[in-house]
């Protein structure tokens, strides 16, 4: 059971401003069903740049719904300029606090607000660029770096609570730790947790990933796979059984095998089929 404040509970049980404005001045859509929470914020802004009305629709847990409800109460009646200054910390304060693991709910509120205002101003929001660290939740290195620096996040759990990064499969934990150490200037740790693999480690990890994650799926379709060689970042494999004659084998190699190995072992691996 989470320790929610009375205010969080109250906003969850009696959320304000649920719904969607039919002809909104600006719309902010963030999150996805896969991630476990999503928020659609619609704004009605008058000619004096005052937010006359705000409505939300949220898919998510109690604190996601409460954060959204709180956000709408906080912005109605404010000018766009004032609203722009609202941060996730303001939402947390308004609610009298959120559990550490739930901070990302307030971050979602801030993001939706920024997107809706940008939409109102006609600013095109550029899609995320840069190195994606957490593939489960699509979080980039820059986002993590920024959050660690701005909000003094000191551990992987902090980063997960804030951005959700690292909350899924856990493969990116080493990388997140490196970013934390780097931003916080802890260079001694940095060397220790370096993710550079020796060739032997790499081969072992590839074999393990083939056994645990790839072979079971291929075997279901009557196929199999064998590791032939590892040369730098090139992984040479041989498809067997039903896979060897399957017209979709190229797709399988790229979409399934290579993606899995990149996720499990190293993000720069290239998988090729043995011609021998």
């Amino acid at each position: 059971m989470w320790e929610y404040t009375d205010k969080v509970r109250e906003h969850f049980i009696n959320p304000r401003n649920v719904g969607e404005i039919q002809t909104p001045s600006g719309t902010g859509d963030v999150g996805s069903i896969t991630c476990g929470d999503a928020l659609k914020l619609t704004l009605d802004i008058d000619s004096n740049n005052i937010i006359k009305d705000a409505k939300f629709k949220t898919f998510g847990c109690a604190s996601a719904i409460a954060s959204s409800s709180a956000l709408t109460e906080m912005i109605i009646g404010k000018s766009v300029e004032e609203a722009e200054k609202i941060t996730n910390d303001d939402i947390v304060d308004f609610l009298g606090g959120l559990p550490k693991e739930k901070i990302h709910c307030s971050v979602m509120g801030q993001e939706a607000l920024q997107k809706a205002i940008a939409d109102f101003k006609g600013i095109e929001i550029v899609e995320k660029e840069g190195n994606i660290v957490c593939h489960c939740f699509d979080i980039t290195e820059d986002e993590i770096r920024h959050a660690v620096a701005e909000h003094s996040l000191g551990s992987i759990d902090d980063v997960t609570g804030f951005l959700k990064a690292g909350g899924g499969c856990g493969q990116c934990h080493d990388e997140i730790q490196e970013i934390i150490d780097e931003v916080r200037g802890d260079s001694s740790k940095q060397k220790k947790s370096s993710s550079k693999l020796t060739n032997l480690q790499k081969i072992k990890k590839i074999e393990q990933a083939l056994e645990d994650d790839i072979k079971p799926a291929l075997k279901k379709d009557g196929g199999n796979i064998e590791l032939v060689d590892v040369d730098g970042n090139k992984v040479v494999v041989r498809l067997q059984g039903a896979c060897a004659t399957c017209v979709k084998s190229k797709e399988t190699l790229k979409n399934h095998v290579e993606a899995k190995l990149r996720q499990k072992v190293a993000h720069d691996l290239v998988v090729e089929e043995s011609l021998l």
Partner: protein, 387 residues
């Protein structure tokens, strides 16, 4: 404190049966003797423990000296698995399922880090094990197989008899976590050749803090707790006398109530399930409904999130649990639902209702009455709901 809850979370823990509480109280109040003592004051407690062991063994059609008492289901699981590892130091492969309880799953993950090769048997969309995978991966190098008798989230029952027979043929030790199965379905250990089996007291109306482990005669065993001579040296430490007496009584009652569990509890479960599916669109049941515990139903409500559902239910004092990530501090939905390939949009909104003999018709009717409005209220708030 809340006393009058509608408790449909019996796979998490159960009410301690009033008869069980009565049975154990004298051993907290008056008969506090140590069963190992030479005097009669202690010795009389040893007699009661002997009786509890008989009661426990009877539920499983086993011999009393094949059971040792532990502190919980997790201890039983760890003791069984780590003993097998020690028995066969040269065997470096171990096998379990992709849908195991964390008590086993996380131990296997831990052993993997120690250098063991671990096979996690995948399941299909109904949560049924891939038996071909099991056969292919079961080899003489396998130190132990640990497969739950029934799954805690969906109630799916696994074919433990056949699985154990195959392991036996290859000389591989077989352990089963029967924490959820015990007392709900027949678990006859003369018929099912498992080598070791774990149970937990608080899942069958005994208190928390007591478990038991079945170790079939002539199975090699290395103790998990080392110290005194208790439990024939298989589990050191002064006996938790009152709780041992409690689990014995609980097993006896479970044997008597098994029929009720399979008829009355099942009838209420089926009524709840049927009505919720009928009244709430875009909802479905998870697991193998043909082979399922009589008390469990896992229902996914699409387009909404589980923690929000549970907290809405909490307003009406209805207790259940969810496969949602947001209740656990993790962000991935339950590994069981994900292993079954339940899509994210449904996995996030999954609620597990688990009943017991203490539930009644009025409670089920109340839940059937309240759930549709809870679900539609949350759906009206969801950006994905186009109802």
């Amino acid at each position: 404190m809340i006393e009058d809850a509608i408790y449909l979370d019996n796979n998490a823990t159960t009410r301690t049966a009033p008869e069980v509480v009565e049975e154990m109280l004298p051993f907290l109040r008056t008969f506090y003797g140590n069963p190992s003592s030479m005097h009669s004051f202690g010795g009389q407690v040893a007699d009661k423990i002997k009786n509890a062991r008989q009661q426990t063994a009877a539920l499983f059609n086993a011999d009393p000296d094949e059971f040792i008492f532990t502190s919980c289901g997790t201890e039983s699981d760890s003791a069984a698995i780590l003993s097998a590892i020690k028995t066969f130091p040269d065997k470096k492969h171990i096998m379990t399922t992709a849908v195991e309880h964390p008590a086993v799953k996380n131990l296997f993950e831990h052993l993997k880090k120690d250098g063991y090769t671990v096979s996690f048997i995948p399941v299909d969309e109904k949560g049924r094990l891939d038996l071909d995978f099991y056969r292919e991966n079961l080899t003489e190098d396998t130190a132990i197989v640990s497969i739950m008798w029934a799954n805690n989230e969906t109630g799916t029952i696994f074919p433990v008899k056949e699985l154990a027979q195959e392991a036996k043929k290859k000389g591989v030790l077989f352990h089963t976590d029967a924490v959820q199965a015990a007392g709900k379905i027949t678990t006859d250990l003369k018929d099912v050749p498992v080598d070791m089996l774990s149970i937990s007291g608080h899942k069958l109306h005994a208190p928390k803090g007591i478990g038991a482990l079945f170790i079939r005669k002539n199975t090699p065993f290395y103790p998990f707790l080392i110290g005194g001579h208790q439990e024939w040296g298989k589990r050191a430490g002064t006996e938790n006398t009152a709780s041992i007496i409690a689990i014995g009584k609980a097993c006896e009652i479970a044997g008597t109530n098994m029929e009720k569990e399979q008829n009355e509890v099942k009838r209420l479960r089926d009524k709840l399930e049927k009505n919720l599916l009928e009244k709430i669109p875009h909802s479905f049941v998870n697991g193998d409904i043909e082979n399922r515990l009589p008390n469990t139903t896992s229902i996914s409500f699409e387009y909404i999130e589980g923690e929000a559902i549970l907290l809405m239910m909490d307003q009406f004092k209805i207790c259940a649990s969810s496969g949602s990530a947001c209740t656990s501090g993790s962000l991935e939905p339950s590994h069981v639902l994900r292993a079954m390939g339940v899509p994210y949009e449904a996995a996030h909104g999954t609620v597990r209702f688990s009943l017991s003999i203490y539930n009644n018709e009025e409670e089920i009717d109340f839940v059937i009455e309240k759930m549709p409005s809870i679900i539609s209220r949350l759906r009206e708030m969801s950006p994905f709901w186009k109802g």
